[in-house]
């Protein structure tokens, strides 16, 4: 067993436990975005940053990937952590303002302004859909492609993947992509089955067999220029 303190509270956890899990055990909330139970930790969204160490050697780490260490002193809500989180959320708002998940998180953290150039992306590269597809659906149909600013998520060669069973898991788990629905390009479409009782996209002819998991799915209406 490993002993560490989180916000001054002592806790002992088994080896290999992450700081996030230890905090959860104590009931201390840490916001997360790219972390879901049942999927491997990834550390992409950085929302779960906490401060470890003391004095000059204190530093910020992502709690979902950092394993507990003996004698570790963790602060989950120091001013430095809160500042960092607010900045991250502000950046998310700049890139994906239409995401309900991000809007809610920003509101909860009292982020009231957005000082960066406004973009309207539909992806924050959190990798949830990639992990969902690979680890839960055992498919591996989508993944990361390219790098740097050209990095994107999708199928190889941008054609419908043979591994894809149209389960819709990727759409279900995505925190950002109310716009991911690809109804305008059915041949590239990932989404396939829908819980929406009257999805507007069905009325489009090329989408006869298309269904969508987003509820409420508004993608078709937003994209309709």
């Amino acid at each position: 067993m490993i002993k560490l303190t989180i916000n001054g509270l002592g806790v002992s956890v088994e080896e290999g436990t992450t700081i996030l899990e230890a905090a959860k055990f104590l009931g201390i909330p840490i916001p997360t975005l790219c972390h879901k139970e049942g999927l491997s930790p990834y550390g992409a969204c950085r929302l779960c940053v906490v401060e470890i160490g003391e004095g000059e050697r204190a530093r910020l780490v992502s709690s979902c990937t950092y394993p507990a260490e003996e004698g570790l002193k963790v602060r989950t809500a120091s001013s430095r952590v809160l500042r960092a989180r607010k900045m991250i959320l502000e950046l998310y708002l700049a890139s994906c303002p239409q995401s309900k998940t991000i809007q809610d998180l920003a509101a909860a953290h009292n982020v009231r302004q957005q000082r960066f150039r406004q973009e309207f992306e539909d992806c924050i590269m959190c990798g949830l859909c990639v992990r969902m597809c690979k680890e839960q659906m055992m498919a591996g149909a989508i993944g990361f492609r390219g790098r740097g600013q050209d990095r994107s998520i999708g199928t190889p060669f941008d054609v419908k993947s043979e591994e894809c069973r149209l389960c819709g898991g990727c759409m279900f788990i995505c925190p950002a992509c109310q716009l991911r629905c690809t109804y305008t390009e059915p041949e590239k479409a990932i989404c396939g089955a829908c819980a929406n009782l009257s999805p507007p996209c069905i009325e489009k002819e090329q989408f006869d067999d298309m269904m969508c998991y987003m509820d409420p799915c508004v993608a078709c209406e937003i994209k309709e220029d």
Partner: protein
């Protein structure tokens, strides 16, 4: 594209996880790009999903998913080259070839790409064509570089080029000299060996100039064919222990007179070679 070739490349590297890059590099060396079917075969045989392989292939800039031209022009846009006017040179290349960076000309002769540093900043602006470095390039030199590439960069000017020099070689088994003083190639005595490929068996003469790839032979050797080389005196095969770093074919090894060995690739058209003079006193 031959699926069996791809499979053998995959099996060669498949013993560890890190072998993927090696596979892709070898496939790219063979076909000058990564064909879609090849990636599927790699995915299937390595038990990865295709998207993982595709992710690696798109991550690294040296891999290409579209066919490349015969000649690859890399214009350096690193900091040092940039301040000395490399962007203008890249534009000049684009203008003269009629393509944008990253594209291939319609006749499949040239592929133009920009790179971020070639590590030869002191010589900048640098342009590399098929592994040949051109230093202190300016826009006036661009036309000359393209012209030189079209006429063949591997055609070396024997008299003026200091990088090439004649070697005298002998058989690594019987130590008989392989030099033919009567038959000259590039104005120097040639290296005479017996060559065998398919069902053909006959003499073959190589230029003795290190760096020149001129060859004359009794039978025309088809491109890409792997040729077996034999000593005309003791009839032993001149086999080296290693494989060509460029294409994976077996290397042919010969002893250099003053010590050391020279190895050449046995595949016709491949210019892989290495010279190891570690045994020489000079």
């Amino acid at each position: 594209m031959n699926p069996v070739d791809i499979q053998s490349i995959v099996d060669k590297h498949n013993h560890n996880r890190g072998g993927l890059i090696g596979m892709l590099q070898e496939i790219q060396a063979r076909y000058s790009y990564l064909p879609k079917e090849a990636l599927s075969i790699v995915a299937e045989r390595t038990n990865h999903s295709l998207v993982d392989i595709y992710g690696v292939a798109t991550f690294y800039k040296s891999f290409s998913l579209t066919p490349r031209g015969r000649h690859l022009c890399s214009v350096c846009l690193g900091t040092a080259c940039h301040v000395r006017g490399a962007p203008v040179i890249a534009e000049e290349f684009e203008r003269q070839l009629g393509i944008k960076a990253g594209q291939t000309t319609k006749d499949k002769e040239f592929t133009l790409e920009t790179v971020n540093c070639l590590g030869a900043c002191a010589l900048g602006p640098i342009v590399v064509v098929d592994g040949h470095y051109f230093s202190n390039v300016n826009t006036a030199k661009v036309g000359k570089i393209l012209q030189k590439t079209r006429s063949g960069l591997d055609k070396v000017e024997v008299r003026t080029d200091k990088r090439i020099f004649p070697v005298e070689v002998s058989c690594s088994r019987c130590n008989h000299s392989l030099m033919d003083q009567e038959y000259l190639i590039d104005g120097h005595p040639s290296i005479r060996v017996t060559a065998s490929f398919g069902r053909k068996h006959g003499w073959l003469r190589l230029s003795s100039l290190y760096g020149s790839h001129n060859v004359e032979s009794e039978y025309e050797v088809p491109e890409e064919e792997i040729v077996h080389f034999f000593c005309p005196h003791c009839h032993a095969e001149l086999a080296g222990a290693s494989e060509c770093a460029e294409c994976g074919a077996p290397m042919v090894s010969m002893i250099v007179k003053d010590g050391g060995i020279v190895q050449i690739c046995s595949r016709r058209g491949c210019v892989g070679h290495m010279l190891d003079l570690s045994g020489a006193n000079a």
